[in-house]
Symmetry: C2
Subunit: 161 residues, 2 copies
């Protein structure tokens, strides 16, 4: 997106047959964006697409676990994983698993790039064990949910200024 | 191995660039071998290579979690994961993660085959996200540890007769 405050959709591509790449620019400095990704009180306000999100566990350090439960109009959805790498404010690598498909684990690598003009680019690369798992995620409504969550994050970041 | 009671080494191969395949025959009926893999009191007696093993969590059902802590002479090692499929006495699929490499998750598919003569073949296929992760596991001493655990399992199965 431009420097306009209007929410933009993320750019989603498939660089390899087991990966999804998501790119999105946020109108806030990298330290603030990092904070929104790693402070449970802030994550609760955007991660769940605007729905109520219960942060059951969130230990932001290498080896720490996370578990979020989203209470949406269509039901209760649990998500969990473990942090592989936490390098503020640049890299956050964690596993991702949805209760509806237990034992199917993606690795999400989030890279936060300071654009030098008060904005931040986040590139998330999700690696799956198989192409079928990757394609299952792509057709699950992930893109819509992601854009809803990132729109909520835009709003949250504006209030943190 | 033959029908001899002498412990045999598992046969370890690499069928693809992200998999390890482990094959081993046990001198016990499939129901008993299944029990040794799914009853926490029995798992505690062989899984940890003969070392003390604390079963912190073991919910053997789809979506259930497991966490084992091995107390060996060289230190304390935690392992955990989640069950993807539990089909007695044929298939047990679960994820596997070692605390020393958090966020690096393999999927282990265990197939139990009744050989019709009182013996059982177990074929375990471990799928990793990358070849490097697979190779890291292969060079970690996995083979020696596996053979120690399976030798302990041989002994346990003999006592269950």
């Amino acid at each position: 997106m431009s420097t306009s405050a209007k929410p933009a959709n993320a750019t989603i591509t498939t660089p390899t047959d087991r990966e999804v790449r998501i790119e999105r620019i946020f109108d806030a400095p990298v330290e603030r964006v990092w904070q929104a990704f790693t402070d449970p009180k802030l994550v609760a306000q955007w991660w769940g697409r605007g729905n109520e999100l219960v942060i059951e566990r969130m230990e932001v350090e290498r080896g720490g676990h996370w578990r979020f439960v989203e209470h949406s109009p269509d039901g209760v959805h649990g998500f969990e994983g473990r942090y592989r790498e936490v390098t503020p404010p640049e890299r956050l690598v964690q596993t991702f698993e949805w209760d509806g498909m237990p034992g199917y684990v993606a690795v999400d690598t989030n890279v936060f790039e300071d654009l030098g003009d008060g904005r931040t680019r986040i590139v998330t690369t999700s690696l799956f064990h198989t192409t079928d798992e990757r394609d299952g995620m792509l057709t699950s409504g992930m893109e819509e949910g992601l854009n809803q969550s990132y729109a909520a994050l835009d709003k949250l970041l504006a209030t943190l200024e």
